[in-house]
Amino acid sequence: MKYQWLNLSLAIKCLLSGALSCVTAPLAVAAEQLVSDASIKIQKDLTSRHHLKNGMSVIVRQIPDSDIVQLGVTFSSGLKDLSPGRKVLNEWLWTALPMAGKGYPKRKVYQLTEQYSLDLACSGGIEYAACGLGTLNEYWPKALPLMAALLTEPSFTPEDVALTRERIEAELKDTPSNPGSYVNEIVNSIFYRPGHPYRLNHDEALKELDGLGRDDLIKLHKEILTADKLHIVVVTSMPAAKVVADLNQAFGGVKASNAPVVEVTAPEFDAAKAYAFYDRELPTAYIRMKMNAPGIHDEDSVAMRLLYEILSEELGEEIRTKRSLSYAVHAFLIEYNIGVGVINVSTSKPEATLAAIQDVLSTVKSKTYSDEELAEFKRGFATSYYLTQETHASLAGALAASEVFYGDFNEYYDMPRRLDKVTPADIKRLANKWLSNLRIGVIAGRQQFKDEWALDLIKQTAAKD
């Protein structure tokens, strides 16, 4: 009796909430299609596109059974859009901007964020910047005007500019202290040549900081506040019509300007400049490798994600499990307008580890995975796909990224169907095309690491053509 009631209860909840769990594929088909067409359809049906009076696009995703609301405002402007000499503004702007705005001096911002426990923050990225507001439905009428004032009419008071400048300077100076993150900068110094839109190392940023000030922040804000570069995503249970009406009040006055788009080209490989070493005595060497990959718009984009998932598993199996050379070894793909493949490892046996990486790269290039093996690798994507949808904030982030890169939120929802189509032949083809021309950054003691180990791997994995 109890069991029946619980099932009934679940059925009602599904009916009321549109929960994705209600349309999980039955077990019989689950092995091949964990994200069913019905599940994707429900998500799409719960998502709608609207336009503000200035043409700005707004995506509203309904989560019917929750009073949490997440607003994401994305600016299609990031590090890549800033010329050398101004790049540090990307971080500075988004640190200083949320501190005060027209009608909202800092004291009032503090008062409101504390009173309503608002989760309000901005961050500047390589391709775009994102500001998020997490709150409850009941505080939305107070929170939205605050957010709008900060984003559209920030004050940049001299005090806040000075305060944030000092914090950024301290953060930048602190960059080398964590070898795990600093090794990324070491490899970036050779991966992105001077002048590349994605390049900014901490010492360069510190120099830039010397020549910049409040006027530069105000100028940059003016440049990027343009309706054609803004995307809004709201994840909420509130009716879309109400949300859009509120957003019209808040952001409908932002003008469009058709700002130019900076084109990004893939970094060029030069075997003579593919290795950087930083001497520091540490208990374990930190090694990070980067290589080119297709950009997010490439038709092989989803297959590349799967390739890097496979590569990461194979590296873990060989280096961590079989040879016990490292606690932390993994590979992943960064997808922007250009793609970047990354292999990351820490080890106290770097020579053996680099040899093992070479073995794994060779294996992945030469092996033809069976359909069954590929299906197994794909299954983990279903879990991460739904994990993204668990919280309002992560779902808003995924939809915003889809909007920025594709101009279409459906691209995010449809990813499982694109993944279904990837074949073993695709994996082999892409491995041979892209797993080459490594750039290697190393942090280790000079006595611990010989340059030829890295140079040999670069030579062995250089593309033949």
Binding site: S117, Y286, E318, Y327, S348, E376, Y386
Partner: protein, 481 residues
């Protein structure tokens, strides 16, 4: 049909009310295993957590770090999946993401997978905890991985700083707060030691199975019984009773220099309440931490908003065996002395009328309530969070937490400051670079203390371990721990 739907909606609303404020269910199985379920159907996933009241606190001086090694071995072979290859294949087949963590007072193993595989996931966890092979050959390989994890920690500039703090406070029992343990012990661990740990702490009576996400509660109870019934607590088992820590030392201090440090870390550590013994003492301290974080408050204004420090605050770490309180700041080197002096002096202000106000107290309580709501918005994370509270405080503490927080008044906060911080013994510590120390006139006083308290962390033998040969089987690339 409309009438039926209305009736069903009414039933649903009654059901929700009957559930009260407790968002999850608990029961104790016949084997003594606690079963906790948090039902949420927002996405078709389940997260399964196995938690144990174990960690550094249940180790001895010669087994320090082995609970963490055990955590790694959990993800190796067992009777059903006899080798790493089979284990990894199963992980891929079920679309599992997984990890584990070991701290001073809890161990958690957790997997997330599509909810259609709930039963397979429960079986997977039951096999891993009840029938691990703990083979010596696997252990030889895995401990090298654990040692590399240790080395990664040791590569951080604050590694020695934190070890010295802990060992100065807890003396010879410092290892009971150090889940990472000692490299020589990890290097020389034996299968017998791990088997002993299994019987001491990884038994149903000392563990909880927590499941969050998309499941039907009645199904969960049946499936848990089906797959965990054969996992038994050894006859005559009793929970380990960790020895009491020595009395908190008299006020003392040290300055440590490390070349790579850029900003100065300033910290004063005090003895705090032990949650299972003094639960009522913990609530005002949590409120205090939030009051000091309040951006409209005097503390935040004086230390952070003024630019005096990059960050400054107060933390109380809820633990059952020890309860450290930290007053801390990170600042530019030129302000190190000033910040340290002002930080300690500020404590006297906390007990004065008007330092905190009633509106701030209301804000803080609302914030803590909203935080709970947000926690529950992510079933995957919430169930792990519950595992922490189950192990460290017991779930009754968690259930009544917000009610007790709501009762805290400003005078309780002030009384708490007087009891635990103001004029209480404390360890003052500063971490900065040698150049900055010279520039601001601070002397590194840590070398003799390090000789006394940190020698055990040096282990040249770990560098001499023979290279492992490649076994036939394979392991997961994920990083438990």
């Amino acid at each position: 049909m409309v009438r039926l739907l209305a009736l069903m909606m009414m039933l649903l609303s009654v059901s929700a009310e009957a559930a009260g404020s407790k968002a999850y269910s608990t029961q104790t199985m016949d084997t003594g295993l606690t079963l906790v379920g948090f039902e949420s159907h927002k996405v078709p996933l389940v997260t399964i957590v196995l938690a144990a009241k174990a960690g550094a606190m249940t180790e001895t001086a010669d087994s320090n770090g082995l609970t963490h090694l055990w955590e790694h071995m959990f993800f190796k072979g067992n009777q059903r999946l006899p080798n790493q290859e089979a284990f990894n294949k199963r992980i891929r087949q079920l679309g599992i993401t997984y990890n584990g963590d070991t701290s001073a007072e809890k161990v958690r193993y957790f997997i997330t997978l599509p909810s259609v595989y709930l039963e397979e996931g429960l079986q997977f966890m039951a096999d891993a905890i009840a029938t691990p092979l703990l083979e010596q050959s696997e252990m030889e390989r895995e401990r090298r991985v654990v040692l590399n994890e240790y080395e990664r920690n040791a590569a951080q500039p604050a590694f020695d700083f934190m070890n010295l703090q802990r060992n100065m406070i807890y003396g010879p029992l410092g290892y009971r707060r150090d889940p990472l343990g000692l490299a020589p012990i990890i290097s020389n661990a034996t299968r017998e030691q791990l088997l002993r740990i299994k019987d001491q702490v990884f038994v149903p009576a000392n563990c909880a199975l927590l499941v969050g996400g998309d499941f039907v509660p009645a199904d969960l109870a049946k499936l848990a019984k089906k797959h965990f019934a054969n996992w038994r607590t050894p006859e005559g088992w009793k929970p380990l009773q960790p020895p009491a820590f020595p009395r908190f030392p008299a006020t003392t201090s040290f300055v440590m220099t490390r070349p790579i440090v850029q900003n100065v870390r300033i910290q004063s550590t005090f003895d705090g309440p032990k949650v299972r013994q003094q639960p009522k003492e913990t609530y005002p301290l949590d409120v205090l931490a939030n009051l000091l974080e309040h951006r409209g408050g005097k503390f935040y204004q004086k230390f952070v908003d003024s630019g005096l420090a990059f960050e400054a605050g107060f933390s109380y770490y809820t633990q059952s065996q020890a309860g450290e309180i930290d007053v801390y700041a990170t600042a530019a080197p030129k302000r190190a002395k000033e910040v340290q002096k002002k930080l300690l002096a500020e404590i006297k202000e906390w007990v004065k009328p008007g330092y905190f106000n009633a509106a701030q107290l209301v804000d803080v309580k609302r914030k803590m309530t909203i935080h709970r709501k947000r926690e529950q918005n992510s079933p995957t994370e919430f169930i792990k969070e519950l595992a922490f509270w189950w192990a460290v405080t017991g779930l009754d503490y968690y259930d009544s937490y917000l009610t007790n927080i709501d009762k805290v008044k400003l005078k309780d906060v002030q009384a708490s400051v007087k009891t635990w911080v103001l004029n209480a013994p404390h360890l003052d510590s500063v971490l900065l670079s040698p150049e900055d120390a010279r520039a601001v006139g601070l002397k590194d006083t840590s070398p003799p203390l390090a000789k006394k308290y940190l020698e055990m962390y040096k282990d040249p033998a770990t560098k001499e371990l023979p290279a492992a040969t490649a076994p036939e089987n394979s392991a997961s690339p994920a990083s438990p721990g």
